[in-house]
Symmetry: C2
């Protein structure tokens, strides 16, 4: 089973690392790290990860995972090779998936027209403008496409996908392997109902970074 993890400059590391951890350890899986060109890819914190091949070298993966980025508008303009590869690879893939604003790249590739999908809360308007029917659910399954909300939702998406690929018992075994029994110390993970002070603090944080 060939799983293609799409990499690109400015991507968010955890968007990729969540589903990757849930999927890449399975003995049937060959993980491919693809980008516009093989070589180092700089994520949004400056961390470099290595693409093992160019998109065109794997035209028919079984599963596609597309992470998001905080610079999602720039990325939509810049990542033409990724979008073209997605449009070409989607019809033969068993599952095409995204985390965070990765869904805007699926939409730009024509995969989400009129379909329910989710994204990071900050990009809901953008995703709607690209033709999807935006959901605020954390993980949205529509046919052969699974989209996840922002960043950490990729863990839930990855485990959901593991169950579709290998059955519930295997997914539960993966969950045990990665001890995914989350205990967030606070309850500020959703835009819905968030304290305005927390939203203002996030504005200050991102303005300075």
């Amino acid at each position: 089973m060939d799983i293609a993890f799409a990499l690109y400059r400015g991507m968010t590391t955890l968007d990729f690392a969540g589903p990757h951890e849930m999927l890449a350890h399975h003995p049937e899986v060959t993980a491919h790290y693809l980008a516009a060109a093989a070589g180092p890819v700089r994520t949004d914190t400056g961390l470099e990860v290595t693409a093992t091949a160019a998109f065109g070298e794997l035209p028919r993966p079984d599963v596609i995972v597309v992470p998001g980025s905080g610079e999602y508008e720039r990325v939509l303009d810049d990542e033409k090779e990724l979008v073209d590869w997605l449009a070409a690879a989607y019809p033969s893939a068993t599952w095409t998936t995204s985390v965070c604003t990765g869904s805007t790249l699926l939409a730009k590739a024509g995969i989400l027209a009129g379909r329910p999908a989710t994204t990071h809360w900050a990009a809901r308007g953008l995703l709607e403008g690209l033709g999807a029917r935006v959901s605020t659910e954390r993980v949205v399954i529509d046919g052969d496409v699974i989209t996840a909300a922002g960043v950490s939702a990729g863990l839930d998406m990855g485990l959901t996908l593991a169950a579709r690929l290998w059955g519930e018992r295997t997914a539960r075994a993966v969950q045990l392997l990665v001890e995914y029994a989350p205990e967030p110390p606070y309850d500020s993970g959703s835009l819905e109902g968030v304290d305005p002070e927390v939203l203002a603090e996030l504005g200050r944080l991102t303005a300075r970074s």
Copy 2:
């Protein structure tokens, strides 16, 4: 604020990526990716990440984050530079932290003698043998050391540490940024109370990989 993320061959990507996402976006933070030598480091799935410097180049980081590995016994033997650097850097660090079996490396560096700490459930006996008082809590804070349980517990640790570094409001803003409102589709994330069938399935998965 210099945060040192320790990298080494065979490390688990999500162990690193969870706290990294919670900490590295803060505008005060300079993230350092350290290993025995600068250059590519191969994780346990074959993914390569790039170390930007050798351990010795950053002798006094403010915060230290040590990920774990599925090959934790080999790692304890192999990662002498990491262990020596930990022993030397710990006294001047504000916070020294680990995810998963990263705590066995802290213990080998002499940091956990007689202290409460946690680790991946599979390595509890090993950690106890290295002199720590093993806890089954997901995140354990003891003075200037924070240890987390397996793999995904690093997200909870990272957010807990963000609150200690910058206050609760900032931690909540980070939680909103990464939409950390987890919805695991199953409840098999803890060894305690796990279905024996799930444990057996995990044995089959890891035997084949």
